[in-house]
């Protein structure tokens, strides 16, 4: 291949050598313009044997179809052969046109993240103060020194904080409880099984006493051991297929959905009331203007004074969301040092953070769709079957497969009663969609057309 090219090249070399020498000699004489023109045409004929229409480097670059083609395919050989087929144009010109276009496209220089955020801040400041003359960036060198100092300190501080993880989060990570039953883990690590669904757990004001009330009105009293080593941290783990409500020491009511975990101090002694959530929970926070209530999750923190809202932060779902029923909440995206990471929600609004795109959006929602689960109802509107099945799977802890992407992507709306048997639920789903379900030997279900 390469040899062949070489031979071809040498041939062209020889011919063009002769021609171009003549060309150069002649073209230096202006009087002989005519001759030089005729030779030029000859050269053109040599290099562009195939040329029929006048398609060349220039017209290619002005052709939108050509530009679309170059932008949307990555294989150079593909591009060239395709273009050769569709345009009667010399290969060399095509190659140059492609290279030219690519070289220009990769040209874009971007402003660094920090500079982008900083510049925006300065723009807002100078436009708000509006004092005629715009405030300038600090002079170049000073600015660099300042940046270096900020970086060093910032680095030190972030290192300090990241090494000193939130005690709640640490607790949540350390204590993994694999269980089929809902479990309350006390400060000393002792576990208390919550036998019945919907049993209520109540904390006394100082967090020392825990009362578990169940339906049979048989209350059980537990005690948290007090010691001086730090705050008394408890957690409640709700496995698939269960729901539990818990009343914290400040009177806040939390309903936890299947497959969730809530870590909380028995007594809120700090300046804020912090809890850590994995999974989904509905919160009715008791009002206390002096002590904001903060629900921490992996991706977002929600800060409130007293209100009703729902948070969904399952580790296996791509979207972390919070929906506000009443009052007002601020959502703080984690891991962002600069920029407007705090977003305020008003009632009937939902905040959705997608970890896939690292982007968030706020939109109006029908709140009932997001909180009805706490009453044993699963309401959904225009959700894909895939999403619905994911939820159902969490409630029943059964493996449910959907055959075919098209089926999984079907949008459905409706309402399911979650206290029903899984067979009943799946029957509803399959009947609505006019598909069928199959129970496998290993106990998993398959939904197929």
């Amino acid at each position: 291949m390469y040899d062949f090219l070489k031979i071809k090249k040498i041939n062209i070399f020889c011919i063009s050598l002769i021609i171009s020498y003549t060309y150069h000699i002649f073209s230096s004489f202006y009087q002989l313009k005519l001759i030089s023109l005729s030779i030029k045409i000859k050269v053109n004929h040599l290099t562009c044997m195939k040329r029929e229409e006048d398609i060349d480097f220039i017209s290619l670059l002005q052709d939108e179809r050509f530009i679309y083609l170059v932008k949307n395919s990555f294989d150079l050989d593909d591009q060239v052969s395709f273009i050769e087929q569709h345009y009667s144009c010399d290969r060399e010109e095509i190659l140059y046109a492609i290279d030219f276009f690519k070289a220009n496209l990769t040209e874009q220089k971007r402003l660094s993240e920090e500079d982008t955020a900083l510049l925006f801040q300065q723009i807002k400041e100078s436009s708000e103060t509006n004092n005629g003359r715009v405030r300038k960036f600090v002079s170049h060198r000073l600015w660099k020194a300042a940046a270096a100092i900020v970086l060093i300190f910032g680095g030190a501080i972030t290192y300090y904080y990241s090494s000193q993880k939130d005690p709640l989060e640490k607790f949540a990570m350390n204590q993994t409880v694999a269980t089929d039953d809902a479990v309350l883990v006390l400060s000393d690590g002792s576990k208390y099984k919550l036998n019945e669904d919907d049993s209520k757990i109540e904390y006394s004001q100082d967090g020392g006493n825990v009362v578990v009330r169940n339906k049979r009105e048989q209350d059980e009293e537990l005690r948290n051991k007090q010691d001086d080593s730090g705050p008394v941290i408890n957690q409640i783990v709700v496995p698939a297929g269960h729901r539990h409500s818990i009343s914290l020491s400040d009177g806040t009511l939390v309903v936890l959905n299947s497959g969730s975990k809530l870590v909380f101090p028995a007594e809120f002694s700090g300046k804020t009331r912090d809890v850590y959530l994995i999974g989904e929970g509905y919160f009715e926070v008791s009002k206390n203007a002096n002590k904001p209530f903060i629900v921490k999750t992996e991706k977002i923190n929600v800060r409130v004074l007293g209100t009703k809202f729902n948070i969904s932060a399952y580790a296996d779902e791509k979207v972390t969301s919070t929906v506000l029923v009443e009052g007002s909440v601020s959502v703080i995206e984690n891991g962002k040092l600069l920029g407007n990471a705090v977003r305020k929600l008003s009632p009937q609004q939902g905040y959705f953070y997608s970890s896939e795109t690292s982007s968030s959006e706020i939109k109006q929602v029908d709140v009932a769709d997001y909180v009805s689960w706490k009453d044993g109802l699963f309401r959904f509107k225009d959700r894909t079957l895939r999403d619905v099945v994911l939820r159902v799977r969490k409630y029943y802890n059964k493996s449910i497969l959907i055959e075919g992407d098209k089926l999984a992507g079907t949008l459905i709306s409706g309402k399911l009663v979650l206290t029903d048997d899984i067979d009943v639920i799946l029957n509803y789903l399959t009947k609505t969609l006019e598909v069928r379900q199959e129970l496998q030997k290993d106990g998993s279900y398959i939904i197929k057309e």
Binding site: L17, D99, F100, K109
Partner: protein
């Protein structure tokens, strides 16, 4: 359409629209500014002034398809103004220097698959270097920023036909110098570009 509504929201004082517009254009503006003048500090200053200006004068802002181009035009004028006061000289267009180094950088970044490709790159580089600043700017706006001719015309403060001609002439010049270079190299193959 969506873009226009964003501008309208901005005009009505919507802060979110401002931040969206900012993040949409800041990188392109920065990249363009750097081509006009290599000092990134100055470019950042000027971008800041451009945005502050449109925020302070948003009531007068006329929203058309060319409003984004107005940002680029303002940046260009601001930079020229700055350079003029800095150098205390008129005839600023000649002063505007495109930093060749940056263009080289981008060339190096491209993965070069074969010797042949490398050879083409070198020729293209030389061809681009033979353009005037004005022509190079037109090529940059057309093929790096991918602006339409009416936007280019707005930015360069010329009419659309002139913008079209400018781009065409620039392409023609590139083409001529590419194929001229090839001829020269054929004559003296041992003088191959280093």
């Amino acid at each position: 359409m969506e873009e226009k509504s964003l501008w309208y929201r901005f005009k009505n004082g919507d802060d979110e629209a401002l931040s969206l517009l900012y993040s949409q254009y800041v990188h392109e503006l920065f990249s363009y500014g750097l081509r006009i003048h290599g000092d990134d500090q100055l470019v950042k200053d000027c971008i800041q002034e451009v945005f502050v200006h449109i925020i302070d004068h948003k009531n007068k802002l006329i929203i058309t398809d060319l409003t984004p181009a107005y940002l680029f035009k303002s940046l260009r004028n601001k930079l020229c103004e700055e350079l003029r006061t800095k150098n205390n000289r008129s005839g600023i267009i000649k002063q505007i220097s495109y930093s060749e180094i940056k263009f080289d950088d981008s060339m190096e970044q491209l993965t070069v698959n074969s010797e042949e490709e490398l050879y083409r790159r070198r020729i293209l580089e030389a061809a681009l270097a033979s353009l005037s600043n004005y022509q190079r700017e037109a090529i940059f706006l057309k093929y790096s920023q991918e602006f339409s001719y009416d936007k280019i015309a707005e930015i360069l403060s010329v009419d659309v036909a002139s913008a079209r001609t400018l781009v065409y002439r620039s392409l023609k010049k590139i083409k001529e110098s590419i194929f001229h270079k090839i001829l020269v190299l054929f004559c003296f193959p041992f003088l191959k570009y280093k």
